[in-house]
Assembly symmetry: C2
Homo-oligomer: 193 residues x 2
């Protein structure tokens, strides 16, 4: 019965995500979103609610589409140590390859909003809690496989890797050069020995 939508929700979220990712929440205006998504203001408010609600949708979209991909290898590669190494190497490579240095939306948003916005804080907290668990699982595999010493504290190491992952994303957003990022990740991975 109703008039059908003229836009694809997924691609609108993609576009909105890229703006928030690049500029951050506060610096992104509704006008920016209208311009970049091609979507009309009224349609935006009708479909997604206000700016904050759209942002939370985008955060979820990012989590499912980008983060999931970033951690796919970490989950799927059977060799635990190789999984961790590939995750960091790929992250570092991507980080200094992209022309616009954007880092990771989840890290960026946590930094920008967490201290004053409990909702975003909770989402970011949960996301990295999950990352920590994923690292822990890979570490356990590696220990079972004998590529990491069983004397290591898995939880502490997982926290270290999670923090370091965010550190790499941070450095790449700040525009770190390839050499620095390489040294950084090499030393992170050497900490597994």
């Amino acid at each position: 019965m109703p008039r059908p939508r003229a836009f694809d929700e997924e691609s609108v979220l993609d576009n909105a995500m890229n703006i928030f990712w690049s500029k951050g929440f506060e610096a992104t205006s509704i006008q920016d979103l209208v311009d970049e998504t091609g979507l009309n203001r009224a349609s935006m408010y009708a479909s997604f609610g206000d700016k904050k609600a759209l942002f939370l949708r985008v955060l979820d979209h990012y989590s499912q589409k980008i983060s999931a991909q970033r951690f796919a290898d970490l989950r799927n590669i059977e060799d635990g140590r190789a999984a961790i190494e590939k995750t960091f190497r790929d992250t570092a490579k991507t980080g200094c390859a992209e022309g616009r240095h954007k880092g990771c939306l989840m890290v960026n948003s946590g930094m920008e909003l967490a201290p004053h916005d409990p909702e975003t804080a909770a989402i970011a907290h949960q996301a990295f809690r999950r990352a920590e668990d994923t690292f822990a699982a890979a570490l356990k595999r590696a220990i079972d496989q004998g590529t990491i010493s069983k004397t290591k504290n898995v939880r502490a190491l997982a926290r270290f890797l999670t923090g370091s992952f965010q550190g790499v994303q941070l450095m790449s957003r700040r525009g770190a050069d390839q050499e620095t990022l390489q040294d950084y990740t090499d030393t992170i991975l050497a900490a597994l020995d």
Copy 2:
């Protein structure tokens, strides 16, 4: 001849710094600054120029007053390894002690503005380049003193420590609990072995 200023420039910068530190550049309004510094709008513009100029002054102020203090031990403690350890332990302790989790203004600002503001990007870049050199100097001392293996790559390790330092600041701004921060820093320091 002129009417003397009714405010102390240093304490105005202190107050302005705390707002920017807590809320970030974009989310801080001129009204916030006026309210918190007690300084009149006109006086603010006359003395510091526009918002961006004030922010750059604040960044410099932070660098001299806060950063310098944070890295004082790293420079001054003769025992290189102890200097590094104390720097990280103190940073982690401060990071989860403060009621309001603010992190490090230089890290925050680099994250928020670097991709779109060359000025801030350059200031942050220089600041952490200096930090890297300070870590490198401490590492060299430690190697000379025999507390760190001379087979280590000093530059790579310095870059790792600089990235990790920012990672700790990031985590503490995101509200990481003490246990996580502790595990994180312990593992960072263990990488020196």
